[in-house]
């Protein structure tokens, strides 16, 4: 089999890691939490990032500032929050992209490798925007009966608690870190492989 084909097929298969590994991770450190709290965001669900029960413990702390409940199975069942449509769509989209990647890989047309990559870039951007929108929504759509209502020292308006999209932010007593998790690196490597497949395939076609 041609080298380009192999690269493309491996690249597409790497997306499969997302069914197991988290895509993003938000970590919270505070004086009372020397061992931090962590929230792993998967394409299908949320999971404990550092210790047992982190998701529930974060959810519990959020209620002080009136933040909406996290979309866990339990909260959805209790009708505390609408289910996250993304947790249904993302696994399908990833499945389709793997199938599509395998298809173009076996077909061996290097131009389609590039199209696959471009679609991935587009989906990635869309996914990141969606993530940003959710952070914004959680940070600002606060319960008017919240226990703690703190005004922003600069604007005087109620303080927002939007976690950082990428990097670090201080929110009240918490230092919040937000970074791509292992699953995201698998996507990036998959995309780099598809790019390499395209370049190699182009060379192979010339020779």
């Amino acid at each position: 089999m041609k080298k380009s084909k192999i690269l493309m097929i491996i690249g597409a298969l790497l997306l499969g890691a997302l069914y197991v590994l988290p895509l993003w991770k938000i970590t919270l450190v505070a004086p009372q939490y020397p061992e931090p709290l962590g929230l792993n965001i998967h394409i299908t669900h949320l999971s404990d990032g550092v210790q047992y029960n982190d998701v529930k413990n974060i959810d519990l702390l959020n209620h002080y500032i009136g933040m909406a409940h996290l979309p866990t199975e339990e909260n959805v069942a209790k009708k505390e929050i609408e289910p996250f449509i993304e947790f249904t769509i993302f696994p399908i989209v990833i499945g389709v992209m793997i199938a599509f990647g395998l298809f173009v890989g076996f077909k061996g047309n290097h131009k389609w490798y590039l199209y696959w990559l471009l679609i991935m870039v587009f989906l990635g951007m869309a996914g990141l925007y969606d993530f940003y929108a959710w952070l914004d929504s959680y940070g600002h759509n606060l319960d008017p009966n919240a226990i703690l209502k703190i005004a922003d020292p600069v604007t005087g308006k109620p303080m927002g608690y939007q976690p950082p999209f990428l990097g670090y932010k201080k929110l009240l007593n918490f230092e919040v870190y937000s970074f791509p998790a292992l699953g995201a690196y698998f996507i990036v490597v998959g995309m780099v492989l598809s790019l390499m497949a395209f370049i190699t395939g182009k060379k192979e076609a010339k020779s």
Binding site: Y52, N53, L148
Partner: protein, 664 residues
């Protein structure tokens, strides 16, 4: 005139000199080696910076407090007092419905105990940090404490025994933990004249088998020994593994004014018990089951509750039925401590009244048995010839030797109660190497891993009964204390004094890394099998059964569910079954009800606990969270409405106006 002034002046000078020299109080220098440079370095060596951890745990007995305290070494900081034999309202121990059975005995509920000798479980002759055992002297019992939860998991009563002092030492693979009888008593108990004691009272030595997996104890057998006072004990180890040694006093069998009458014999005994031989005998059907009555209380981390069972019989072994299993080793006058060195070769009697350390050799003892080097017998038990078993005697190293522990370099450290000092001596050379005063009247001393083949010999603590002027006075009752020594060098160095709870009777120490990593953080709610436990607020409810009202309540930051309850009547018996729904480390909640005739509940995450409230007055009565749990702790409260007897107000319960779990 000039001369007069001169002589007055010189007189004043002289007087001042004498006054300043008079020993009105001991100078700082003689009260410890707290001299400039050394003091500075001592401070550094016990200083554990904020946020840093100590290198060792010390489990220090609370003596007559009945509890076990947990300290850090070298800092001497107190972390926790584990309630064992006494009620503890702070933790609800012995007050809440779940732990009350832990303090049941054949004499009924006993709210207090006298805890003595903690000893940590061992694997291959080294402390393994799974459990710590501790004995109760007054109403003979042994407790087992989990070193994962730091809670008492089991208490077993010892029948046919009184003054359970020579206890609770553990063999080198935690096969057995032992109990002994300090006060000889009729065996079994019966109505008889006290003056007929001699020959008729007995001293039971009990061997409790420890389950390898669960740690559960069971009395495997009791040896019906002559009615001496069995004072202290230690297991053989290494070459002497399979033997257990008990010191005795009052071999005179006096029943009154023991201070004189029990101090007549120049030599008493160390009783050497070949438990392996007796185990074999019992395995082959030996021994006799005798009726007995003793409580066996066990705690379950699944149901978060204790169960008390009254056992009905015990297997008794008569020494005469197992020839060759028990011998008496003559030892200088009323020995107190009976200690075995890390190699298992030397068995040391701390001759309390003789001011002599008797060192017996296990090898010589074995040879003497083979050679039948006996010096008569007592109640059918052979007495060994002193010369045939004795390695040597260290004469008059101090006054009132009580206890000895060892380092790994062949040295022994003995406490002297009367001369208030710790003496370091070499066991083989029988030579004193160093001595250091302690403040004052030291009882036990402890080197971490002291009762094992592998002492961790950097630190030693002495536990002192009297402190007098050592601390700021607090009225007539002042604290007892522990003193920390660094024993890694040639000379013992006193580093630190620290006060202790109750009487620091004895202690057990262990390197922190053997325990800290497995210390429990929470109880998983999923695994909570308490019959009245609930897993969510939706399950909370209030149920009336006749005049009993059962409240299935939850607590989570920062509210109770339900928090408004009506329909309770005067004369009801209200059970608050409260589950802490938290699943986060160090988020306990407490609860108490105004006028409840019991203690608070202090509930760890995932755990369920119950208290009973019997309202006597009509009204609306508040309850609240007693442990500062969160920013909204002050808001964590609720009300119970109490109506008159015969009122027809039905039971109702709400949280924020709704029945918990129902749709708004």
């Amino acid at each position: 005139m000039k001369t007069i002034i001169k002589s007055i002046f010189s007189l004043v000078i002289t007087a001042t000199f004498f006054v300043s020299c008079a020993p009105t109080t001991a100078s700082k220098e003689t009260r410890g080696n707290a001299k400039g440079a050394i003091a500075g370095s001592a401070a550094e060596r016990v200083y554990v910076a904020p946020g840093e951890h100590d290198s060792h745990y010390a489990f220090i007995s609370g003596g007559f407090s009945g509890q076990l305290s947990v300290y850090g070494l070298p800092s001497g900081r107190l972390f926790r007092v584990i309630p064992v034999f006494s009620q503890d309202p702070e933790k609800g121990y012995g007050y809440n419905e779940e732990t009350k059975p832990m303090l049941e005995t054949s004499h009924g509920f006993v709210p207090w105990g006298d805890s003595h000798h903690p000893d940590i479980s061992q694997t291959n002759g080294s402390v393994d940090g799974r459990w710590v055992f501790i004995n109760e002297n007054n109403t003979p019992r042994i407790a087992r404490i989990s070193l994962e939860t730091f809670e008492t998991e089991e208490i077993i009563e010892i029948p046919n025994s009184a003054g359970n002092h020579s206890s609770s030492y553990v063999t080198e693979n935690s096969e057995y933990v032992v109990a002994g009888t300090r006060f000889a008593v009729p065996f079994p108990q019966r109505d008889m004249s006290i003056k007929d004691m001699k020959g008729n009272f007995k001293g039971a030595l009990s061997f409790l088998k420890i389950d390898k997996e669960t740690g559960r104890m069971n009395i495997a057998f009791q040896i019906k020994m002559p009615g001496f006072n069995y004072d202290l004990s230690h297991p053989g180890r290494g070459k002497s593994h399979g033997w257990f040694f008990f010191s005795t006093y009052n071999t005179e069998e006096a029943n009154s004014l023991l201070e004189v009458n029990a101090s007549q014999n120049d030599k008493d005994f160390i009783a050497a018990i070949n438990w392996k031989k007796i185990e074999e005998y019992v395995k082959n059907g030996g021994g006799k089951k005798m009726p007995a009555k003793y409580a066996h209380n066990t705690w379950s981390d699944d149901t978060h509750s204790a169960t008390s069972t009254m056992e009905k019989e015990v297997l008794v072994v008569e020494p005469k039925d197992v020839p060759g299993a028990i011998y008496f080793l003559p030892t200088a006058k009323s020995p107190h401590g009976c200690d075995v060195d890390p190699t298992g070769e030397y068995i040391i009697g701390n001759g309390k009244l003789a001011a002599a350390m008797t060192v017996h050799s296990f090898t010589k003892f074995q040879k003497a048995i083979a050679d039948k080097a006996f010096d008569g017998e007592k109640y059918g038990i052979p007495i060994m010839k002193f010369e045939a078993i004795n390695f040597g005697v260290l004469d008059q190293p101090g006054l009132g030797p009580l206890h000895t522990e060892f380092d790994t370099r062949g040295n022994a450290y003995t406490t002297f109660f009367i001369s208030s000092e710790v003496v370091k001596w070499n066991v083989k050379d029988l030579k004193v190497l160093d001595r250091h005063p302690v403040y004052y009247s030291v009882g036990h001393l402890m080197i971490p891993g002291g009762n094992s083949r592998t002492p961790d010999d950097k630190y030693l603590i002495s536990m002192n009964k009297i402190t007098k002027d050592r601390y700021l006075p607090t009225g007539p009752e002042v604290c007892q204390s522990a003193q920390l020594f660094d024993i890694s060098g040639e000379k013992m160095e006193l580093l630190l004094d620290f006060p202790t709870i109750g009487e620091p009777h004895y202690a057990a120490g262990i390197a922190a890394d053997k325990i800290a990593p497995k210390s429990r953080k929470i109880y998983k709610l999923d695994e909570n099998k308490h019959p009245y436990g609930v897993k969510s607020e939706a399950e909370t409810k209030v149920v009336r059964k006749g005049n009993e009202v059962h409240i299935y309540m939850t607590m989570i930051r920062s509210h109770f569910s339900p928090d408004n309850i009506e329909g309770v009547k005067v004369g009801d018996k209200v059970f608050f079954h409260v589950t802490n729904l938290e699943q986060d480390y160090d988020v306990p909640h407490g609860i108490s009800m105004i006028g409840a005739n019991t203690s608070e509940l202090l509930i760890m995450p995932g755990r369920t606990s119950t208290f009973v409230w019997e309202p006597k007055e009509v009204g609306v009565w508040p309850f609240y969270c007693t442990d500062f749990c969160s920013a909204l702790h002050q808001e964590m409260q609720g009300y119970v409405r109490v109506s008159p007897k015969g009122s027809n107000i039905p039971i109702s319960f709400t949280l924020d106006g709704d029945i918990p779990g129902e749709e708004e």
